[in-house]
């Protein structure tokens, strides 16, 4: 029974994720796309739970839903006459764009089904403590570099988005 429920939940998460991703990409109205992205992020967070990645699921909700999605929706509100902006959303190159997408899909599927993945079956364990240890020992330098990157991005974003000095004076 539990097994069946967990399978049902797994497929539900997959359907939510893929379905809302399709809405994000193909819906004509920007605001619908932005809100569909919310469901994609939640779907991926749910799949992280299935992968025994508890910390990642939490940070997915915090960073993607709480941070990135808020920024994107904010961007939509700032930049558009959102409810009327249905034109011109698609390029005329839909079928041309299909070619590289199909090539990527083909290569990915080829690798996926021909590679000999080594899979080790082992029980689910909480990962947060192990992640913390790894981040402060093996991956300490990348961790610090990431924090410098975030600081640089913060300063750069503020500098870019700020109005120019002469705009203020007028």
């Amino acid at each position: 029974m539990i097994e069946l429920l967990s399978q049902a939940a797994f497929w539900l998460f997959i359907i939510v994720t893929v379905g809302s991703a399709v809405v994000v990409v193909f819906h004509k109205r920007v605001i619908y796309s932005a809100f569909a992205l919310l469901f994609t992020f939640f779907g991926v967070a749910g799949l992280y739970v299935f992968l025994a990645a508890d910390f990642l699921a939490a940070s997915q909700v915090l960073i993607y839903v709480g941070g990135i999605l808020t920024l994107i929706i904010f961007g939509v509100f700032v930049t558009a006459k959102i409810y009327t902006m249905t034109i011109p959303q698609q390029t005329h190159q839909r079928f041309l764009a299909l070619i590289p997408v199909l090539v990527i899909a083909g290569v990915l599927m080829y690798v996926l089904f021909t590679a000999d993945w080594k899979v080790i079956d082992h029980p689910n364990q909480p990962t947060t403590a192990r992640l913390g240890k790894l981040l402060l020992t093996t991956y300490l330098v990348p961790f610090e570099v990431a924090s410098v990157l975030l600081l640089a991005a913060l300063i750069g974003a503020m500098r870019l988005a700020r109005p120019r000095e002469e705009d203020h004076e007028q």
């Binding site: 399709v22 990409v25 991926v44 992968l51 990645a53 960073i63 994107i72 764009a97 080790i120 990348p142």
Partner: protein, 101 residues
């Protein structure tokens, strides 16, 4: 074991292709951003799946770094879009050809 590695990898490939289609076909810069986020999410999912099935949490560390880079990318990207909108009153990428030629 039911959700096998292949389930996650196929899902990840599908998400990545949907995102790539969005980047290639949409003209609104914000939707292109959303599509890039979809592709990043697909790659993160693959990392987490490999971490789970190989029994090594290093894969999850990569997801954390990728999250940090995604956050930085969105902050800078949206700042560019806001600056662009202030200049051109548009987020249509066809209007942005300043650095094209």
């Amino acid at each position: 074991m039911f959700p096998s590695l292949n389930h996650y990898l196929i899902l990840s490939a599908a998400l990545f292709c949907i995102g790539a289609a969005g980047v290639l076909t949409r003209k609104n810069a914000i939707i292109i951003f959303a599509s890039i986020e979809l592709m990043l999410n697909a790659v993160n999912l693959a990392f987490a799946a490999f971490a789970r099935h190989w029994g090594d949490v290093s894969g999850q560390i990569f997801v954390i770094f990728s999250l940090a880079v995604a956050a930085a990318e969105v902050a800078v990207g949206l700042a560019i879009i806001v600056a662009l909108f202030r200049h051109k009153e548009s987020v249509n990428i066809d209007d942005v050809n300043l650095m094209k030629w």
